[in-house]
């Protein structure tokens, strides 16, 4: 069975995101005054095989996020898992 995992990584809410602020300022400058918050993050897609069920995929992705893909000191992550045909 193969799985498609989509991972979003973002700075924790409590942490100021200078890049997000700059992008928001750009949108505001274009006249989109109603954009009141913007955070820039990372998006990753990965395919994963040789696991029996979604629970195992979740467990492994969680571990990979904590060990390498995200830095738990400053970042939060979330992901969703799709079964591939």
């Amino acid at each position: 069975m193969e799985w498609l995992v989509k991972i979003n990584i973002q700075l924790k809410e409590s942490i100021l995101d200078p890049q997000g602020q700059a992008v928001q300022a750009g949108l505001n400058a274009l006249g989109y005054d109603n954009v009141i918050d913007l955070n820039v993050g990372k998006y990753m897609e990965l395919k994963i095989s040789d696991l029996k069920n979604e629970e195992e995929v979740k467990e492994q992705v969680d571990e990979m996020c904590q060990r390498l893909l995200a830095n738990p000191v400053i970042e939060d992550y979330r992901f969703n898992i799709e079964e591939m045909a």
């Binding site: 942490i15 100021l16 200078p18 890049q19 700059a22 893909l69 830095n71 000191v73 400053i74």
Partner: protein, 227 residues
């Protein structure tokens, strides 16, 4: 006395470090490729600046899993002296040998210039030859040097006197780093990381030789141990 300098793919200050340690201070130096283990008995391991693995994912995040890092971590945990400069500092944090993390500089720019630093703790193996509150002129060159740690972590750093170097004041702070922190050590004092580049300030011809004192402190501390 023998120092080891680890070279990761993308390191670019490794030869500058070697020049300072070997040619200025006359210390035997091994250049250690990141895929090797630490084969000799070293008195200190230095992690140089640069852009290991192109800074992909996060600075230092992938270098932290280079094969050599297992033995660097063992070396540090056994009390060996480890100095991380710039990208080396980022790798030490990713490896969990130093607390905290780096964010992108507040102004989003790559900043390369001399800044004024102040010594906050001279009771470490890396700063013993400096005076407390002494001001140093040493260059920085980074885009991700905006040190972050949560409130509890910051409190711990303060209580244990782990803040070794600060940017002199807010206007000297090139990156938005919390409390102007430029360099920290671990609780045991044998691991030290800093964003400024002391190896780029080790000869007057480069505009400042204030960085020498960091290396002199370490060398003199090691000599003390031998005697």
């Amino acid at each position: 006395m023998r120092f080891g300098i680890v070279t990761f793919p993308g390191s670019n200050c490794d030869q500058d470090l070697r020049y300072v340690v070997e040619d200025i201070f006359g210390i035997k130096t091994d250049m250690i490729w990141h895929k090797e283990d630490l084969e000799n008995n070293y008195d200190a391991i230095l992690l140089p600046g640069g852009f290991s693995y192109g800074d992909y994912l996060r600075s230092g995040a992938i270098a932290r899993f280079s094969p050599v890092m297992d033995s660097v971590i063992d070396f540090a945990n056994a009390g060996g002296f480890v100095l991380g400069i710039c990208n080396g500092f980022q790798i030490l944090m990713e490896a969990g040998l130093l607390p905290g993390a780096m964010k992108v500089n507040d102004n989003l720019k790559f900043v390369c210039k001399h800044v004024k630093l102040q010594v906050k703790n001279n009771q470490t193996p890396f700063t013993g030859q400096l005076e407390k509150e002494q001001v140093l002129n040493i260059p920085v060159a980074h885009q991700e040097g905006n040190f972050y740690i949560d409130d509890a972590g910051l409190e711990k750093l303060k209580n244990n006197q782990q803040i070794v170097l600060k940017y002199l004041n807010k206007s000297e702070n090139p990156n938005g780093s919390i409390e102007n922190i430029a360099g920290i050590c671990n609780q045991e004092r044998n691991v030290f990381g800093l964003m400024p580049h002391p190896e780029r300030a080790s000869e007057e011809i480069l505009g400042s030789s204030d960085g020498r004192k960091i290396f002199e402190s370490l060398i003199s501390k090691i000599k003390e141990g031998v005697n």
